[in-house]
Symmetry: C2
C-alpha cells in the first residue's frame, strides 16, 4: 500500500521524457495510466517506474525539477548450479571476475541538480540513506563525474532495512559494486571501476580475483564455503568488461538465515520467498555431491531455519506481544528522522519511532517495525480461529 | 488445462435448474458465461460447478439426462491448535464425535437415473471409481435410499490418485464418512449414519468415540500420535448431530509425507501447499509444548521431507530420466481402462498407460503420470539455465 502516490501526471513533461529515455510517448502515457510510472510526493519530487516499461528498468527515477534520470538497477540472474551455468552464460568471455555479494540494501547514489541523493532499489529517495551517502562519499567524485551513478550495498547495524552486525561496520557503510551512466545505465568494466573508486577513497565490495570461465565453478565453491562460515551472503560473477550480464550465487548459510528472518514474520512474507530458497539448497546439495552426513546436517539446518523462528513468534504472541522487528538509525540531523518517518509512511510501513538518544555528536533512534499480518494471523489461531 | 469442456450451455434447462437449486436464473447464466458452471463431455453428460456459486458448493454436478443433482462435498475447516479451537467452534454442542480422516481421495457415490456413479471432489464422474463403487456398494442401499449420497474415501494401492498401501487394503476400498441428501447436501447424524451403513455391510471410517467438547483437546493428541506412528493422516471432529460443521486436524507424519510427495514434483505443486504444512508443524509444536529434543527431531524430519525427495528428483533427471509417478488401476472390464484414459485426457493429466496384465479375473494396468513442469525446470537448471 503506497499512500500519497497519486495522480500528478500533469507535472510530467512527457515530450521531454520520451526524448530522454528514447521510448515512444504512448508508452509513457500508458505507464502513467496504469500507475506503473508513479508520482512520489517527497522532496525532491520525482516519478518512478514501479515495473519495467519498454527498455526502462523498474526502479528508474525521473526528478522533475531538473529532469535528472537515474536508471533502475537491473535484476541479476541467479544460478543454482555453477556448472555448466557459468560456462554457458559467459561463453563469450575468457575470464570472469568474482566479487562479494553483501547482505544489506541496494543503493544508488547520484548527483541531482547540485545535491547528492541516495535511491533505494525501488527508485525512492531515502532521506536516511541520503544523509549517510553525503557523509560517506566525497563530493569530489560527483564534481568530476556528474553523469555517473554509484551502485552499491549499504551495510551495517544501523540499517533500518537489513541490519547486520557481522561486517565489522560500526554504523552504516557503503560498498560499491557498480558504476553506471546515470541516463543510460551503462556499466563500467570491473577493474576500471574499482581503481576509479579507490582513487576517491570510496570502498568497493571484496574482490576474489579473476577466474578462467572454464574453471570458475571449481574455485567458487571454496569461496562460498568460506563466506558461508561467517554468515556472509555469496558472490556475484561478472564479465570483467561488463558486457555480459552478471550472475549471482549464494551460500546455504545465507539462504537459511533469510528463511529464519522470513519465518519470524511468516504471514507478511511471500510464499515464493520460501520456495526459491528451498530449491537453492537442493540443487547445491546435488552439485556438491554431498554424503549422508552432510545431507542430514543440511536438512536439520533447513528445518530449524523454518520452524524455530515461527515457533518463537507463536510463543511471543501467546505471551501477548505484538510481532515486530527492532531496527535503529543513527543520524546527525533530527530533520532526517522526521523525513525518514514520513518516507516510511509513504511506503506503507507501520513503524513506531522511539525518542532520539544523543550518542556522541549523533542521534540514535530506535524504530519498531510492526508486522500486523503475522500478529493478527497468529492471534487468530491462538484464539481458536481456523487456518482456513 | 481442461480440454473438451466447452460451450454447450444451450443443453442446460436453466429454468429447471434454477428451481431445483433454488437460486436465481441470472446466477446460473452468469456462472455459465464465466465457465464456473462447465459442461463435461463424458458419459453420462453433466454440468459441474468449478467453484461455489451462491449457496451451491464447488464440485456440485448436474446430470442433464435425468436432472439428478449431486451437491458438492463441503470444504472442511482445519484447526492448527485443538485448544481453544474446539471449545469455541463446537460451543453449541455437548459432545464431539471423532472419526479417522483417511488419506485417499474424496468420493461421492450416487444413483443417477437407474445406475450408480462415483464422483470425484471436483464433480467429475470417474469411470474407474465408478466400476469400483458398483462392485463395493450393494445396490440395495440405493434401491432403499435413492435420494442419498454416500460420501467417503477411496483408499488403497490401486488408487490412481493417492496410492497408499498401509491401510491393509488389497486393491481399493471405500470407507464412508458421510451420508447426505443428494439435492440439498443435508448430512445425517453420525451414529445414525454409521448404523445405517453397517446394516448394508458398507464400511465406515474408524470411529474413535465421543468426547466432551471441553475435554476433546486432551484426548485427541493421543489418537493423533497413534495414527501418525503408522503414517495415518488424522481425524475429523464432528458435531454428532452434524448441525455444526466438522473440523479436521492432522498428524505431523502425514504433513511431512505430503511434503515428501510434493517436493518430488516440486514445480508442479502450488507453493501454498508447502507453506500451509509448515505452519501446521509450528503450531503443533507449540500446542504440544515440545522440549528441545522433540523439536530437533521435528526440524530434521521437516528438512528431510523437503530436501531429500527434491534431491532424488534432481539426480534422476541428471541421469536422463523424466520425472513421473507410477500408479496402477485394477479393473474387471477393459472398457473401464479406455474410459479412464479419456477421462484423464479431459482433466489434462499427461499419463502413459501400460498394457493390461491379466491378474486372476481382473486386469492390472500400470500408469505413468508425467510431471512435465518439474522435468523441464530441473533439466533447464542442470543444463545451465538460470533460476530466474
Amino acid at each position: 500500500m503506497r499512500r500519497d502516490v497519486s495522480d500528478f501526471s500533469n507535472r510530467l513533461d512527457i515530450d521531454k521524457l520520451s526524448e530522454l529515455l528514447d521510448i515512444p510517448e504512448h508508452r509513457i502515457t500508458g505507464a502513467l495510466k496504469r500507475k506503473t510510472l508513479q508520482y512520489v510526493r517527497l522532496n525532491p519530487e520525482l516519478f518512478r517506474f514501479d515495473k519495467p516499461v519498454s527498455t526502462i528498468e523498474g526502479g528508474t527515477s525521473v526528478f522533475i525539477d531538473t529532469y535528472d534520470v537515474v536508471r533502475g538497477f537491473p535484476k541479476i540472474s541467479r544460478t543454482l548450479m555453477l556448472d555448466p551455468a557459468l560456462r554457458q552464460h559467459f561463453s563469450s568471455c575468457q575470464k570472469v571476475a568474482v566479487e562479494e555479494k553483501m547482505n544489506g540494501y541496494n543503493t544508488r547514489i547520484a548527483l541531482v541538480g547540485d545535491a547528492v541523493f541516495a535511491l533505494t532499489r525501488g527508485g525512492f529517495v531515502c532521506p536516511y540513506t541520503t544523509e549517510k551517502a553525503r557523509l560517506l562519499i566525497p563530493m569530489g567524485f560527483f564534481s568530476d563525474h556528474p553523469d555517473l551513478v554509484l551502485c552499491g550495498e549499504m551495510v551495517g547495524p544501523d540499517s533500518p532495512y537489513v541490519p547486520k552486525s557481522f561486517y565489522g561496520v560500526e554504523s552504516l557503510e557503503f560498498f560499491a559494486f557498480d558504476v553506471r551512466e546515470k541516463l543510460t545505465g551503462k556499466p563500467m568494466p570491473v577493474m576500471k571501476r574499482r581503481e576509479l573508486l579507490d582513487g576517491y577513497g570510496i570502498k568497493s565490495v571484496r574482490f576474489f580475483g579473476e577466474f578462467d570461465v572454464d574453471k570458475a565453478h571449481l574455485g567458487i565453491p571454496r569461496i562460498i564455503r568460506e563466506l558461508g562460515s561467517s554468515m556472509h551472503e555469496g558472490v556475484v560473477i561478472k564479465d570483467p568488461d561488463m558486457v555480459v550480464a552478471p550472475v549471482k550465487y549464494t551460500s546455504s548459510e545465507s539462504n537459511c538465515s533469510d528463511l529464519e528472518y522470513a519465518f519470524e514474520f511468516y504471514n507478511d512474507y511471500g510464499r515464493d520467498f520460501f520456495f526459491g530458497r528451498v530449491c537453492r539448497e537442493a540443487f547445491q546439495a546435488v552439485e556438491w555431491n554431498e554424503d549422508d552426513e552432510s545431507l542430514e546436517k543440511r536438512c536439520l539446518q533447513l528445518g530449524k531455519s523454518i520452524l524455530l523462528p515461527m515457533i518463537q513468534t507463536i510463543k511471543k504472541r501467546k505471551a501477548g506481544e505484538r510481532i515486530a522487528e527492532d531496527v535503529r538509525i543513527r543520524v546527525q540531523s533530527l530533520d532526517t528522522v522526521t523525513a525518514f518517518e514520513e518516507y516510511l509512511g509513504i511506503l506503507g510501513v507501520d513503524a513506531v519511532f522511539g525518542e532520539p538518544e544523543k550518542v556522541g555528536d549523533e542521534y540514535l533512534v530506535r524504530i519498531r517495525k510492526m508486522y500486523k499480518s503475522t500478529s493478527d494471523k497468529t492471534a487468530s489461531i491462538l484464539n481458536g480461529g481456523m487456518w482456513s
